[in-house]
């Protein structure tokens, strides 16, 4: 059995509200694929994603592993910061990437802080 990564571009979620975004992500994850999403969810959306995940836990779906990589604004001058904030405000928060995988497939996602490692369970044929 292979590990499937499904790319979700920001354009695909841009017009969706929080609940629709979460439904879309969870429908992919519950199909045993790992979501590789452009951009990130808002903190409130992440919390809602965790709550919705918990409400859907069954014998076959045991939750998710979640990780966001976001460029930190280290050593960035004020002009660049303002430019970044303005771009986020106009175009949405499409910086960074988010990985979300089913707990039955993804054992852990470890961030440390510049690299990201995804550990999967042994995938048998």
């Amino acid at each position: 059995m292979s590990l499937t990564l499904q790319f979700v571009p920001y354009a695909d979620i841009e017009s969706l509200d929080a609940e629709e975004r979460i439904e879309k992500i969870l429908s992919i994850v519950r199909g045993r694929s790992v979501v590789l999403m452009e951009g990130r969810l808002k903190p409130q959306e992440e919390a809602k994603l965790i709550q919705t995940t918990m409400s859907k836990i069954t014998k076959g779906f045991r939750g998710i592993e979640l990780c966001t990589i976001y460029p930190e604004a280290k050593n960035v001058d004020l002009f660049k910061k303002l430019k970044r904030n303005f771009t986020s405000m106009v175009l949405g928060d499409r910086e960074g990437i988010t990985l979300i995988g089913p707990a039955s497939v993804v054992k852990a996602i470890r961030k440390d802080p510049d690299k990201i490692q995804l550990f999967s369970f042994n995938l048998k044929k």
Partner: protein, 210 residues
């Protein structure tokens, strides 16, 4: 300079309007970080009694526990608060993990069911908090998404945060790593189990609550 002026104005505003306000102080974090051990330490220090059951098995706290009217007196200052011990926030709950602790399948499934509800409730309670201490195991990787999600939600709700790096008595504890993961927040290292550094915790709490 701007920070100093802002802090001064906030302090004056709070002193003027909230002299005897009872603060709702929440303990949040991933499972097994030591939230209930810290809750017990605080209530033991100031009320002489414990408030929560503790266990090495994750998700021992599956309901929100509230201890009302705790008064901390520290260097002439006084803080009145209700302490809220919440279930650990996790993104995965697998009943088979509990069976590794020699729990029967039936009990493990029951615990998993209660734990999922506990996570949902803990997040619901976030809106009610005035101040939150995020309790992390300082021997674990601090960059976990659960930690980042909790702190992100507190910032979005403008709730003051104190990060507590617990279990500093463990050999693998790394306080510096926790501090470098959250450079913009107050981080205090303690051992809730041994009662180490509690003075600094209370002092930091006064600073954060103001």
């Amino acid at each position: 300079m701007i920070r100093i002026i802002r802090d001064f104005v906030q302090r004056m505003f709070h002193q003027f309007f909230s002299q005897k306000k009872i603060v709702k102080l929440g303990l949040y974090g991933p499972p097994n970080g030591g939230k209930s051990t810290l809750a017990n330490r605080i209530t033991k220090d100031w009320l002489g009694e414990k408030m929560s059951a503790v266990s090495h098995i994750p998700h021992e706290t599956r309901e929100v526990h509230v201890k009302e009217k705790i008064v901390i007196k520290h260097h002439g200052k006084e803080l009145n608060f209700n302490l809220i011990d919440t279930p650990g926030i996790a993104t995965r709950i697998d009943y088979e993990d509990f069976m590794k602790y020699k729990m029967s399948k039936k009990k493990a499934k029951q615990r998993a069911r209660e734990a999922t509800k506990g996570v949902i409730d803990a997040i619901k309670w976030l809106d009610d908090m005035n101040v939150v201490m995020v309790i992390l195991d300082s021997s674990d990787n601090p960059y976990s998404q659960v930690n980042i999600t909790i702190i992100g939600n507190l910032v979005a709700r403008k709730i003051p945060v104190l990060i507590v790096a617990n279990k500093i008595d463990l050999r693998k504890a790394n306080l510096k790593k926790v501090e470098s993961a959250f450079p913009q927040y107050d981080v205090v290292g303690i051992s809730a189990l041994k009662g180490s550094n509690m003075e600094e915790l209370y002092e930091s709490l006064f600073r954060v609550v103001r």
